[in-house]
Symmetry: C2
Subunit: 84 residues, 2 copies
């Protein structure tokens, strides 16, 4: 049995899209005394894909992002294949 | 003015910790026909830190994780300094 390919998907709110969660995090960090700016909160999805190659796994995850994992109107995503 | 250091924090549910959101994502992906397993959903926090060096920025973000960004009982986190 071939090993599954481990992939991480990083989903971020697009630039210019309001991110109230990021604003709340930034506000809290500042109140704690940290000198931060531009905080943005997104999602991280780890998944193991049964695919014959890393390229094929990446292509499948790209399709997952389009269909389910990200909202392309307001979110961007990056796909990172993890080392075996 | 020195440029802020851009840092990404990847927060994941620890192994063995129940992750209902991950289970729901996996179930949905399977219903869409994808052959996946081990789906886990976490958070991604991007933040710009005013710090004199990458090392100092990383140390500050580690402290942010301990105080606010992650729950060390049930979550692990990874800190990635982004290229300038």
């Amino acid at each position: 049995m071939r090993p599954a390919v481990k992939v991480s998907v990083l989903v971020r709110p697009k630039e210019g899209i309001l991110d109230p969660q990021g604003a709340a995090v930034e506000d809290s960090l500042r109140k704690l005394g940290f000198d931060v700016s531009g905080a943005r909160v997104g999602r991280l999805v780890d998944v193991e894909v049964d695919a014959p190659s890393e390229d094929e796994a990446r292509a499948q995850v790209d399709e997952m992002c389009r269909q389910l994992l990200a909202n392309p109107l307001i979110e961007s995503y990056a796909i990172e294949v993890q080392p075996q």
